[in-house]
């Protein structure tokens, strides 16, 4: 009896493991940045190109970085979610305009509305590489000490904002500087 039960048990364990593996999203790559200092950047602003913004300027506050581009189709769908979030007035959202043409980008914001405190121009995509961006749109939450606390790959939805980002911001805003 035992000699039949062992292969059966091995088979069942294998089926369970494989079934669990099917549920994993192969597109999801854990970010190496969570809990680590946000990468440095120093980029010109989309609307005032003579002005630069760097990471140190944003220390001491909780802020979000939303990577977007006018060529990115799902950014369009996400834009309403970003606007709704900004209207709540909980934390500023900075845009990283990734590998875009500045004129297209400005036109896009004119047409759809501009919820961003400011947008940074990353024309060559070098800062995108430093932030490990691979699927636009992406959104990062950075705490007062400049540590990345959350990363969303792909478009934000109202559900993600309500269930993940808002509770996280509540704890982060309560943290000391």
């Amino acid at each position: 009896m035992k000699r039949y039960l062992i292969p059966l048990a091995v088979f069942i364990v294998l089926v369970i493991l494989l079934a669990a593996g099917l549920k994993n999203d192969p597109k999801y790559i854990p970010s190496p940045f969570i809990g680590k200092p946000a990468p440095e950047f120093d980029l010109p602003l989309l609307h005032q190109p003579q002005q630069q913004l760097k990471k140190a300027d944003l220390m001491g506050q909780v802020w979000l970085l939303n990577v977007w581009a006018s060529w990115c189709v799902s950014c369009r769908a996400e834009h309403e979610v970003v606007k709704r979030f900004v209207a709540m007035n909980i934390a500023p959202v900075y845009g990283l305009n990734y590998k875009d043409n500045p004129d297209d980008a400005k036109g896009w914001l004119n047409a759809l509305g501009n919820p961003y405190k400011s947008s940074l121009m990353d024309i060559k995509g070098d800062v995108g590489i430093d932030w490990g961006v691979y699927g636009v749109p992406e959104t990062f939450v950075i705490d007062k000490k400049g540590i990345v606390r959350y990363k969303q790959v792909g478009p934000l939805t109202n559900a993600i904002v309500d269930e993940k980002i808002l509770p996280l911001l509540q704890t982060l805003n309560a943290e000391a500087d």
Binding site: P26, I29, P30, P32, G132
Partner: protein
């Protein structure tokens, strides 16, 4: 029959697919053949995160092009293999390394096959030894068995 009809078009289709995946070409100039060899090695070692079953050398995705450019810049500047791999892994995670490094969370991956091999050899030896130990058939048992076989015939 249907399979036979489909076979040739499928073959042609597949050969087209494999041709298109070879299409990523950049014109990078190297001052040193060693650097060029390192570059070629690195773009085969790094996974493209957008197109996950391709290395960045094989992919036409925008990100793969950017990462090739980065790799080229670092290699031309004289950086070594570990520097480039570290640079990529810091930004995109260990996932981009096609050859996982030996570290605490990949230990099982590296030594697992050897553990399985040892267990398999152990079980095999045990099995062989047990079959050697089997008691030979006694004379009466053999007769009984022969009688049973004859009865069947």
């Amino acid at each position: 029959m249907v399979m036979k009809k489909l076979f040739l078009p499928l073959l042609v289709l597949l050969s087209l697919v494999s041709l298109s995946s070879q299409a990523a070409i950049d014109a990078y100039q190297f001052d040193d053949p060693e650097k060029e060899a390192l570059y070629k090695k690195l773009v085969k070692e790094l996974r493209c995160t957008v197109c996950q079953n391709q290395d960045i050398g094989d992919s036409n995705a925008g990100l793969a092009q950017d990462l090739r450019r980065k790799t080229y810049e670092m290699v031309s500047a004289g950086k070594d293999e570990d520097f480039v791999l570290d640079y990529m892994a810091q930004r995109y995670g260990d996932f981009v390394l096609y050859r996982p490094r030996l570290q605490s969370n990949t230990l099982l991956l590296w030594i697992g096959p050897f553990i399985i091999l040892i267990v398999a050899v152990f079980l095999l030896l045990k099995f062989i030894r047990r079959s050697e130990d089997e008691i030979p058939l006694s004379e009466t048992d053999r007769e009984a068995a022969e009688q049973l076989l004859e009865r069947d015939e």
